[in-house]
Amino acid sequence: MTVSISPTGITDGLVLVAKRDCQTCELVQPVMRELARGARPLAIYSQDDPEFPEGVAGVRDDRALEVSFRLGIETVPTLIRLEGGREVERVVGWQRDEWRALTGVNSLGEGLPEWRPGCGSKSVEPGIIDELEIKYGDVAFKSRRIEIDPHEDEIEAMYSRGWSDGLPLVPPTRLRVHRMLKGTNRQPSEVLGLLPPDLQPVTIEKVAVNAVMAGCAPEYMPVVIAAVEAVLLEPFNMHGVLATTMFCAPILIVNGPVARAIGMNARGNALGQGNRANATIGRAVQLCVRNVGGGRPQGVDRSTLGTPGKYTFCFAEDEEHSFWEPLSVERGFARGTSTVTVFAGDAVHGIVDQQSRTPESLARSFALSLRSVSHYKLAQGADAILVVCPEHERTFKAAGWTKARLRQELDGLLQLPAEEVVRGAGGIAEGVPAAALGDRKTIPKFRKDGLLIVRAGGDAGMFSAVIAGWGASGAIGSTPVTHVIKV
């Protein structure tokens, strides 16, 4: 690599980088002393102890590792020759012939072994390289820097600036955001879109800042980015999902190999707490909407009650143990492609059915719960997700029911009798307007493609769930969107 004169101050001469904690560097101390006595200018940088090598005056202290970083040292000892301020050659590790050739000292290292491998440079130890890049590299962020007084608690400072969803945030220091950005190959300056409601540009960098605050690990970035891209897509209608007086949050369902790779939970308590990826990926998206989009409760977010899912609601489908095809495959993606499906949804409504042993009986239980989405007497409004647990899927598997077969059964069971759902029926004013029913005897509960079925959950328990969707679905509201995760 070409290196400018600035780190070492040597125009024509030698630079040597070493550390005491390295057997090879210890071994070649006599060589270093010999070179130091020679005529050619020599700068020796010690990474851990300015008293090493011994017997040499003027050893330069590089415990801050700035010069090692700027010279791109990966192994010690490294010997570099400079001419006219530029590096012309370097030798990594101890190799007697090469050191002799580089220095022109033909007696160098007499009596020493011909070669020894070097040791890892301190400047590339895990975690250190990121700090050095921030300190000495040209890592530039576009985001404004917010100075927190040394006597101010940074957690409180973030609360007082309104960045939080109510729970504490991880402070987004430059180092943390730098590490987060290493989780993706996308450029930090890339604009994903204009995030509602303020319609402000959301960049990869801003996603990273909010992902840090949410508590994400860098390896989650591809999923967070894909989820933000998905909610920005027009059919999802993020503005409406946020602004509504109804309950919903963007619910994220992850399919494909990425879920396992980053350790997401598709099994016991999949919809609950305890898994970092599940918890923080959903939270990162919500923090983007809050902080970049400007969407806040009692601001543009007019939700009457909301739901705890607005903190975070993200899980993986259990593909490995299911005999059904995954949601992503149903929705047209190849098996093995990682996807995130975003769904504007409410909270978890449990289905307790511990008695059904036939698929018909179990499907009827499911249909009863699905019927109550939004309101027992409403139809063609909300979508829904049916989350089928392992012990329930087993009943379908035993009878050879594919997901399509279950769907077909549910479609039949969810043809709601017009006379039951019409406004006023049962002494309830709410319901489907008579005009909307027309001459029909029945009306389907869900619009076409309005019911998503996924498999998740722990092995024990005959408890599936319905997650109701936003009362406005399809073109007039929000349509679920499945988006590829580019790792």
Binding site: R145, I146, E154, A157, T173, Q200, E205, V209, V292
Partner: protein
């Protein structure tokens, strides 16, 4: 500590001060005595002058000038007046 801004940055970094009202007639003004000697005399005079301007006045007193006002006093003041004048120095 330095943090990167997670927002869209359409608001100023520092919270801007509220604009003061353009007139005080008809408002309620609180006078907060911080318990420095003779602060009450100064505030008595202010109360008199404000009364001449047709401004309603409420008087408050902090237990000691060596500590910030207790929370319940701050909340009480905030809920009862539009503006506050605090007698700060000696």
């Amino acid at each position: 500590m330095e943090l990167l801004d997670p927002t869209s940055e359409i608001s100023p970094e520092r919270r801007i001060r509220r604009a003061p009202p353009d007139k005080i007639a008809g408002l309620t003004v609180g006078l907060l005595d911080i318990s420095k000697p003779r602060g009450n005399i100064f505030l008595d005079r202010i109360e008199q002058r404000l009364g001449e301007e047709g401004v309603a006045v409420k008087r408050y007193k902090k237990p000691t000038f060596t500590r910030p006002a207790p929370n319940d006093l701050v909340q009480k003041i905030a809920s009862e007046v539009d503006l506050v004048i605090e007698g700060l120095a000696d």
